[in-house]
């Protein structure tokens, strides 16, 4: 069982894409652990880094900041970062921060693999 500051993250390599799927809320306490997973994922230099947020019911700006950092790092390695599976509450913060047009956001993991 993970602690309050820990986060369960599953990763899966699908062809040239690396799929990262965090589970649970991503807030101030869990963002540092999530950042560590994302840093490791970007270092693998996948052609496509897919972050599947289907199992994330809530995210605050610290989680968004972690994703912005990952996007910028991925760009430097020419990896395409795609977000998918956003629940309404999570999508809302991207819209409020006006980042919904900055990230590539699609509905499902299959769409992310094909985008």
């Amino acid at each position: 069982m993970s602690g309050r500051d820990d986060i369960k993250v599953q990763t899966e390599q699908i062809d040239q894409a690396l799929v990262v799927q965090p589970h649970g809320e991503i807030d101030l306490s869990r963002s540092p652990a999530f950042r560590t997973y994302l840093t490791q994922a970007v270092k693998k230099k996948p052609e496509r880094l897919i972050i599947d947020l289907a199992e994330v019911p809530y995210m605050d700006s610290s989680g968004v900041a972690t994703l912005v950092e990952a996007m910028q790092t991925a760009r430097r390695t020419n990896a395409k970062l795609v977000l998918c599976g956003l629940q309404d509450k999570v999508r809302s913060i991207f819209e409020i921060a006006r980042l919904d047009m900055v990230f590539t956001i699609v509905g499902t993991r299959d769409e992310a693999l094909q985008s």
């Binding site: 700006s61 610290s62 900041a65 809302s92 409020i96």
Partner: protein, 138 residues
């Protein structure tokens, strides 16, 4: 708790969630910047429900953290895409009135108000009481 109180006034579930997000961001800012991430700093939260002719929900957060000139607390330029610095923007985007003040004797006070009249999405719940106040220490 925030969502439940907001719904009781008549805010839709989605709006209540956004208000809760604004409170979350405000608390995070106090912890990160005011208390430099120390986990044991005091934060007091008061909720004021006005369910009269102009229903609104007011949340007041007070702390004993380091003080900052309220004029220095600003949203950042959203065109500057970088990690961090979104909390104040999110709070001001969601809430209708946001005021930062220095508290007498130290710490800061943040007052945030959401007006039901400013939100198109409402639920048709009846409201039973006139004014409530709840207090929570975090």
């Amino acid at each position: 708790m925030i969502c439940n109180v907001a719904q009781r006034i008549g805010f839709a579930d989605a709006v209540g969630s956004k208000i809760a997000l604004a409170v979350d961001e405000a608390l995070c800012n106090v912890i990160k910047h005011g208390y430099q991430r120390a986990p044991d700093g005091w934060i007091w939260m008061d909720l004021y429900v006005d369910d009269g002719e102009s229903p609104s929900l007011t949340i007041v957060l007070e702390d004993r953290a380091s003080q900052i000139d309220p004029d220095q607390i600003r949203s950042r330029d959203l065109d500057d895409i970088r990690p961090g610095g979104l909390g104040v923007h999110i709070i001001k985007e969601i809430m209708d009135h946001v005021t930062y003040e220095k508290r007498d004797g130290g710490g800061m006070r943040l007052t945030m108000r959401k007006d039901l009249s400013a939100v198109p999405e409402t639920v048709s719940e009846s409201v039973s009481s006139t004014t409530d106040k709840g207090t929570a220490d975090t």
